[in-house]
Amino acid sequence: MATLDFDRQRHVKYFTACLNSLPDAYNKLDTNRMTLVHFAVQALDLLGALPDDYTCFEEGDTKHAILDKHAIIEWIYGLQMPDGGFCGGSFLGPNHHSHSYGHIAMTYTALCTLAALGDNLSRVNREGVLESVASLQRDDGSFQCIAVGSEHDMRFLYCACVICHLLNDWSPLNKDKAVDYIESCIAYDGGISLLPGQEGHGGSTFCAVAALLLMDCLSDTLDKDGRRQRLIHWCAHRQVGGMQGRPNKAEDTCYSYWIGATLTLLGKNDLLDHEQLQNYVLSCQTKMGGFSKILGAHPDILHAFYSMSYLSLSSNDKFELKQLNCTIGIREDRLSAFDCERNVP
């Protein structure tokens, strides 16, 4: 049975095991392995369990070097594409020319994971990354994820903003169009959707607010027409005990982060009932470590990472988790790796 005590050691074991190998149920995430590495590494980093911290995984008197971070760094660089950006895995084989710019979400997570691992990013093809971002913005201001064509929505707009922010170069991104796109995604009930006209959704709401913040357009966009108030109303009403992603949908642990982080970015984190929300998230803690999406299910890396991220942003040291930067989604103190201003909101 799940316990409501935060089971630190089990989580360290869970994420470490994931970094090593994953069962074949993860076949369908083969193209997204970079994001899986990101989730596991960032989670361990929040736990303070990466090797260069002194609270690493211990068994008895033995301090285990729980992973070889240099190996991970090499693996990541091995996925840097010839023209720029990163791919999510090695599934392409030696023919790169059709996807020479990688995938925007893999580029975002590659940069974040390199920073978490203490890499100095000197081997990142900076110009290539920026070109890869430039190749992906569409006329309506949204972003697709690969140059040859894909779906386009708020997720990739967020990724683009994070990349530009981390590299301190906004030249590949048309901010006016991006903001127009975000405005066109404000739904009638105050939430923000993935696409214009679509339903307000926790994930896209976070992506939009974080993107606006990174583009330094948050106030200008939200402080008209009562938008900020309606957005806060919408977010606050997603808590039904645990957190739902849309009105009248079931609770799901990852929305604790998407909504919790959104409110944090709006300076309104305190509006949530964190005791109830933490209880819900902790009740999704599993015996294998990690967290599941809903009560009684198996854990998966994504929900485990976002549950951990939520606990970090809500807790003020209660779970001995490091401080998370909610805008970027990595440990606050890892941002010094990037040549941008330290005062990320």
Binding site: L19, N20, S21, L22, P23, D24, Y26, N27, K28, L29, D30, T31, R33, V37, A40, D68, A71, I72, E74, W75, G78, S90, F91, L92, G93, P94, N95, S98, H99, H103, I146, V148, S150, E151, S184, Y188, D189, G190, L194, L195, G197, Q198, E199, G200, H201, G226, Q229, I232, H233, A236, H237, Q239, G241, P247, N248, K249, D270, L271, D273, Q276
Partner: protein
């Protein structure tokens, strides 16, 4: 269409091509325990990709690869290149839509499958006939899960592309049917908004807005605790303030009797009272704001305690407005 390719047939079909193993480097991370079928199929896919061979046998290989991982966007993309190279026909599009439907069933949250459908329909041309067939397909998926985000996105794309009055009106009816089945289906409410507005952000005519207010009220009567109709109502009123405000306040006050008759405490109906607060704030008279503040205080203290701090914030904002008008 030829029979589905099996892994066993691969070495014979591709006897002239050497399969290429995945090169994960010396210390792979997050290694997936692929089964042998997966490895075999993708070893040949890498070979075909390198050779840039867009033929019938490559097409068959992509089917096999997609059955093993329907989320591999490179395989979908290469499949489309094969289809274009071999000549895209109506029949080919139908066959691929059938494959996408087959894979979509067990993978309802897969972005790549929805994108493939759209890419093919755009390539062959989305006319009204194809649009109707696609809407019919989407309806079958929504019948299983009426809140499938990808499917609603696809519907919106189709409606915007065709942009015909008859299709917009039938969509309003479709959304209404789904709301009859489940008045709490917020996606259906969103779709009603979308269809009634013809996919634009322009405000409705006052006449149409009145009808929408009436509709929301009628559905709210089925279950006043349901958030969806109330947020819809507020959206409509906000868009078209003037006359709708008093009508809405009037209708909302009628719920006291409705709830009493059902033996429920009107104070417990937080979505109704939240709506009242919003309407009273819009009314912006001293009396209205006092009422709103009272309701807000009750929410914080007694009726919506999980959102206590939100209601306290709301009340403080209402007090600021009150001060500014006094």
């Amino acid at each position: 269409m030829s029979l589905p390719l099996t892994v066993e047939e691969l070495p014979l079909l591709f006897s002239d091509l050497a399969p290429i193993s995945q090169d994960d480097g010396p210390s792979p991370v997050c290694r997936i325990a692929y089964n042998t079928d997966f490895v075999a199929a993708y070893d040949y896919f890498r070979a075909v990709l390198k050779a840039d061979e867009k033929t019938e046998r490559s097409l068959r290989l992509t089917s096999l690869c997609l059955r093993l991982n329907p989320a591999n966007y490179t395989v979908w993309h290469f499949r489309r290149l094969c289809l274009y190279e071999l000549g895209l026909t109506d029949k080919k599009v139908e066959e691929d839509l059938a494959l996408a439907a087959e894979l979509g069933g067990p993978n309802p949250k897969n972005y790549q499958i929805a994108f493939h459908r759209r890419a093919l329909l755009e390539a062959i041309g989305l006319n009204e006939e194809r649009a109707k067939r696609e809407l019919a397909y989407i309806s079958t998926v929504l019948a299983e899960d009426g809140k499938n985000y990808h499917m609603w996105s696809s519907r919106q794309w189709i409606l915007r592309s065709i942009n015909s009055d008859s299709l917009w009106e039938s969509e309003v009816n479709y959304a209404a049917d789904l709301i009859v089945e489940d008045c709490r289906n917020n996606s259906a409410w969103n779709q009603r908004w979308f269809a009634v507005h013809r996919g634009s952000q322009e405000a409705l005519s006052e006449e149409r807005a009145k009808l929408e207010v009436q509709y929301a009220i009628e559905i709210a009567k089925i279950d006043p605790y349901n958030e969806s109709p109330w947020r819809y109502l507020i959206g409509i009123v906000k868009e078209n303030l003037s006359s709708l405000l008093d009508i809405s306040l009037n209708e909302a006050s009628g719920f006291d009797a409705i709830l009493e008759e059902a033996g429920r405490d009107v104070n417990s109906c937080t979505n109704l009272n939240s709506t009242r607060i919003d309407l009273l704030e819009m009314k912006r008279t001293s009396e209205a704001l006092h009422d709103a503040i009272q309701l807000g205080n009750d929410m914080a203290l007694k009726h919506d305690i999980i959102r206590k701090k939100y209601w306290e914030l709301r009340v403080s904002e209402l007090k600021q407005i009150l001060e500014s008008i006094d």
